[in-house]
């Protein structure tokens, strides 16, 4: 197991190198706005100023030299550089925004698991019943609804400032947990629900189809023949076997979203990593783009690793291979 993890970590480092390299190449290969011009604030025609900004930011060097310097700082000092736009250290900006993204994602994950799993189980155990048809219909709607649209609709309906039924806190109401836990919770209710809606629907459908299949397995018949209650049969034997792929997806989803839940963060103005990345892309802020991309990649790689280890933990057949 230890060598396995070590090998995976080496592979992860290699992947991160590739990702950082690609980000750099893409940034320079595709036409984007000139960071020096943006940094100059406005579009002055002054050459000398532009030159000096390029020098300061190192933009006058060939891209591979810039990349080399970047990697040097990153690998030796864990330094992600400074934003072209406001000189803020990228690493600090990211860590500064991580709590918001984590609050959003973890909370939403709890919601979608808490909703998606029971709905999936009920649907699978009562296939073709009205409750199954209704929940699967609703799931289809939720899966098809774009998060951005869902976010706006929920704001217009339920936000306490602009909603028709002012129940929950609206956009831009995010407060860090450390500052006021109650306000933190209140401000995240709508974003949690919106971010969780699609995922809950997806999980319900995934679990329904997995569980339907599992409930036809021989060991379920065995469980029934033992005299177990239907609840024990479904949950202890059925769900236990059907949940493994769901947990895999859950791990990856959380990993991907921790890299930034861009749309939800944008609609609800939650100062998370997603919005940081979004702004950076729009302002050609390469160090921040690079930082958020790498950060996102790290989360995805970690999530993959965790999922694989978890998988072995969940399915003894995998463990012994």
């Amino acid at each position: 197991m230890a060598t396995y993890i070590a090998r995976r970590l080496l592979w992860a480092v290699f992947l991160l190198l590739v990702v950082s390299f690609l980000t750099f190449v893409i940034f320079y290969a595709l036409p984007s706005a000139d960071p020096a011009v943006l940094r100059a604030g406005g579009r002055s025609g002054n050459q000398a100023l532009l030159e000096s900004i390029r020098q300061t930011l190192g933009l006058d060097r060939p891209w591979y030299v810039q990349y080399g310097k970047y990697m040097d700082r990153l690998l030796l000092h864990f330094d992600f550089g400074y934003s072209y736009r406001n000189d803020a250290p990228v690493r600090q900006q990211i860590f500064d925004r991580l709590p918001a993204t984590a609050s959003l994602v973890v909370g939403a994950a709890i919601v979608w698991v808490a909703v998606g799993i029971p709905v999936g189980v009920i649907s699978a155990t009562r296939r073709r019943s009205w409750i199954d048809r209704m929940s699967m219909g609703a799931a289809l709607v939720a899966i098809s609804a774009p998060v951005y649209w869902l976010g706006l609709v929920s704001l217009y309906l339920f936000a306490d400032d602009i909603g028709r039924f002012p129940i929950f806190k609206g956009s831009a109401s995010y407060v860090p947990f450390s500052q006021d836990p109650a306000a933190w919770f209140g401000s995240l209710i709508l974003p949690w629900l919106v971010l969780a809606a699609t995922a809950a629907a997806f999980y319900a459908r995934l679990l329904r189809s997995n569980l339907s299949e599992v409930l036809g397995e021989d060991y379920i018949r065995t469980a029934r023949a033992k005299g177990l209650s239907e609840r024990a049969v479904v949950w202890r034997h059925g769900v236990r076997a059907a949940i493994t792929p769901v947990i895999t997806v859950l791990g990856l989803d959380i990993g991907i979203l921790l890299g930034g839940a861009i749309l939800t963060e944008t609609v609800f103005n939650i100062p998370g990593i997603g919005r940081l990345a979004y702004t950076a892309i729009r302002t050609a802020d390469l160090p921040v783009i690079q930082g958020t991309v790498l950060f996102g990649a790290v989360f995805i790689i970690i999530a993959n690793l965790v999922v694989d280890v978890l998988y072995a933990f969940l399915d003894p057949r995998v463990r012994f291979q």
Binding site: D218, R221, L228, R317, F320
Partner: protein
């Protein structure tokens, strides 16, 4: 209506005129059609038939495992005199794994892959015994594994099913079925997925346990050879019906139904010449959705007559043989004559020629005869 009249007379399990129908997208499946069976306490019944003959469905129905929104179950199933077809789920749960244990064909897929064998045993135990502590259940699980002949049970109790060999898995299944000392063990094709040497061990185990524990056994199989090892009585099923039943000796010694003949001819026997050809029965069982109108076996029967396709035969006693019943429209003496020829190694056509039996369909070409 077919079958013997209901007489719950002291049998451990008494099934009377059991019908099981499933609604499917393609139409109604008549899986079990008027089956009546008896299993005395401590007795051993073998139910033989091809897959789809309704043998598993009838036994699953005993445990209520065929219940569902799209299933219709009619008739009577009594266990120790209690009616099970109308019993509540809770009552049935007491029967399942408590008074009746059941094991299945594929022991690998029948054990939960994510749980240790011991845990699955403990679960079986504690489901029926609220008072049993975890430690005691575990001790009992080790005992059970020892009982079914698993070596090093104390170590193996913590292994996962995939770490067991095929034979050990079936032993574990049996241990689980026996956990609560049932009065009846239903074994559904317990050896089909196993290789031949292991088959024999498992059958021997079942026979031994039946002896030791004094429980009744219902052995479901498509293989008459398997039944021979264990059963006292044999019921042969075809297309949802019992077509012949009797004691093991009668079925092997003087079978009356052409289908039983076919089954007997398709098993290797030690008392026959080695080079004797094993003859599978030609054709396939009928679709349970579109059953033939007359005798269910008529489309495959070498001795079929035109009238057999119109009249549904009843399960009737064979004259002079107590407890031997057959569902066949051929005259008893014709049957006896034909079997004599077949038993001596002749094929169906040779037997017909030797006995002078002639069907009114024999002049037709094959294709027409098929109809």
């Amino acid at each position: 209506m077919t079958g013997t009249p209901a007489d719950g007379d002291g049998a451990l399990l008494a099934i009377d005129d059991l019908w099981v129908r499933f609604d499917t997208a393609d139409g109604e499946v008549q899986a079990v059609r008027g089956v009546s069976l008896r299993v005395p306490a401590g007795g051993a019944l073998g139910i033989v038939g091809e897959s789809g003959s309704g043998k598993s469905v009838s036994m699953l129905s005993v445990l209520g495992l065929t219940r569902g929104r799209r299933t219709r179950i009619e008739g009577s199933i009594r266990f120790e005199g209690r009616e099970l077809t109308t019993a509540s789920e809770d009552d049935l749960r007491q029967v399942r794994g408590g008074e009746v244990g059941m094991i299945f064909q594929d022991p690998l897929s029948s054990l939960h892959p994510f749980y240790r064998v011991g845990r699955q045993l403990v679960e079986a135990l504690r489901t029926h015994r609220d008072d049993m502590g975890k430690a005691a259940a575990r001790e009992r699980a080790v005992e059970l594994l020892a009982l079914v002949g698993i070596p090093e049970p104390r170590r193996r109790v913590d292994a996962y099913p995939h770490e067991y060999s095929g034979g050990m898995r079936q032993r574990a299944m049996i241990a689980m079925a026996l956990a609560n000392e049932p009065q009846l063990l239903i074994a559904d094709e317990p050896t089909t997925a196993l290789d031949v040497t292991v088959q024999a061990q498992i059958l021997a185990l079942i026979a031994r346990l039946r002896e030791e524990l004094g429980m009744a056994v219902v052995l479901i199989t498509h293989d008459l050879g398997v039944v021979a090892e264990v059963a006292d009585d044999i019921a042969v099923m075809y297309a949802g019906e019992v077509v012949e039943r009797g004691s093991k000796d009668v079925i092997f010694g003087a079978p009356q139904h052409p289908y039983t003949w076919g089954l007997l001819r398709s098993i290797p026997r030690l008392d026959r010449p080695r080079d004797e050809e094993l003859v599978p029965i030609a054709g396939r069982p009928p679709s349970p959705i579109a059953l033939p109108k007359g005798c269910g076996f008529s489309p495959r029967c070498p001795y079929v007559r035109r009238a057999h396709r119109e009249t549904h035969p009843a399960l009737e006693p064979v004259p002079d043989r107590a407890g031997h019943e057959v569902r066949c429209l051929l005259a008893p003496e014709v049957r006896s004559a034909l079997w004599r020829e077949l038993a001596s190694g002749a094929g169906p056509e040779e037997a017909k020629a030797a006995t002078g039996y002639r069907s009114d369909l024999d002049d037709l070409t094959g294709a027409q005869a098929e109809r």
